[in-house]
Symmetry: C2
Subunit: 189 residues, 2 copies
DNA sequence: GTTTACATGTAATCCGTTACATGATTGA
DNA sequence: TCAATCATGTAACGGATTACATGTAAAC
């Protein structure tokens, strides 16, 4: 029950899934093999220790399923401290570093965030992501322009892949903001 | 000088950069802070031990710059075994797992691959990537269609981000193949 | 003459990978 | 009955993060 311990990305992925509904470690492993969450390892050596850590930190609680001739399954449920940790994660503003490290982590956060976060948190996530993308995209484009002459064809193409990706993310975030269609801030006119 | 040791992604990134031109550890760190390769950590605790491992494995060689009043800089050069390791990396066919784990690793490989790989290796990389994307994209789309009803708005949007990303990658790979404009295989007509 | 940038390292810790280990239940 | 799937773990290892440590050269 130590508090304020760091939580790994896998930890957040597990917390987010457990938040959706109580699950066993084995079910979580299957989610990582069978769904687009496949970027996480489905190996028992990753998941079971991670669950044990989250439990030791008081974020989740595992209860062995009672019942007669059943295979023993330990079902994990989210505890209040776990929900609080998730909410702190959701509320983090999107930083430049988040964008540089890749969209994957941010999309994991956003996917779960819809479950319990209020509209304000969602809006802040999307607008701060939009801001960072709008700032970072021209940076990469400028880098490409500046180093064009010194780069191999494949180097230029790889950079172009990055630019296309960030452009697609920017289009996505605009579409996402539009999808929620919040009333404008600043008074009823 | 142990042989056949596993090389981490950071290891390949360092090998690829050293292949382009001999560099010091400090220069490599700056590359990770100042260029779109920022997804790698620029911390000395990551880079110097990684360089030491590559050197111990006989893949690179570091030589302390001679010369009078200079700050001591250790310049690393690629050894034949290092080039061979890179070439084996370049020649790996793109797998489904590569695509699931994310484009980042694949694009790192492709960016460096242009330096020394022959046209055949480049073509095989791009066509196998195209094949995997063409197979994986409809999989994700099908998953989205199947689970649409059980997902939150943000969950659906996050999945949509993934779909858009893979679509952008597919468009990119088609453009990349077109950019090289290889003569068709199978005879001169 | 003091801050900033250059330059290289080490030590503790954490955690993911890989491989091993165990046992129950279901279906062929 | 034998293989496959369900289900949970452990142990050794490797490598990245974080923080600490040290010293030189340039710039202000």
């Amino acid at each position: 029950m130590k508090n304020a311990k760091r939580i790994s990305l896998l930890g957040y992925a597990l917390l987010g899934l457990i938040q959706q509904q109580p699950v066993s470690g084995y079910s979580l492993r299957k989610i990582f093999t069978a769904t687009p969450m496949g970027s996480f390892s489905d190996s028992p050596g990753a998941i079971y220790p991670a669950l044990a850590r989250l439990e030791a930190d008081g974020l989740i609680q595992g209860v062995v399923e009672e019942g007669a001739g059943l295979r023993r399954r330990k079902i994990y449920r989210l505890k209040p401290a776990g929900l609080a940790a998730l909410k702190r994660w959701y509320a983090r503003p999107v930083t430049r570093e988040d964008v540089v490290r890749g969209m994957g982590e941010l999309m994991l956060r956003f996917a779960f965030l819809g479950e319990t976060a209020d509209q304000d948190t969602i809006r802040r996530f999307l607008t701060s992501l939009r801001g960072q993308l709008k700032a970072y995209l021209p940076e990469v484009e400028a880098f490409a322009g500046m180093h064009e002459d010194k780069m191999s064809v494949s180097g230029k193409l790889a950079l172009d892949h990055g630019v296309r990706g960030y452009r697609a993310s920017l289009e996505w975030v605009e579409a996402a903001i539009a999808a929620y269609d919040w009333p404008k801030k600043g008074g009823i006119s």
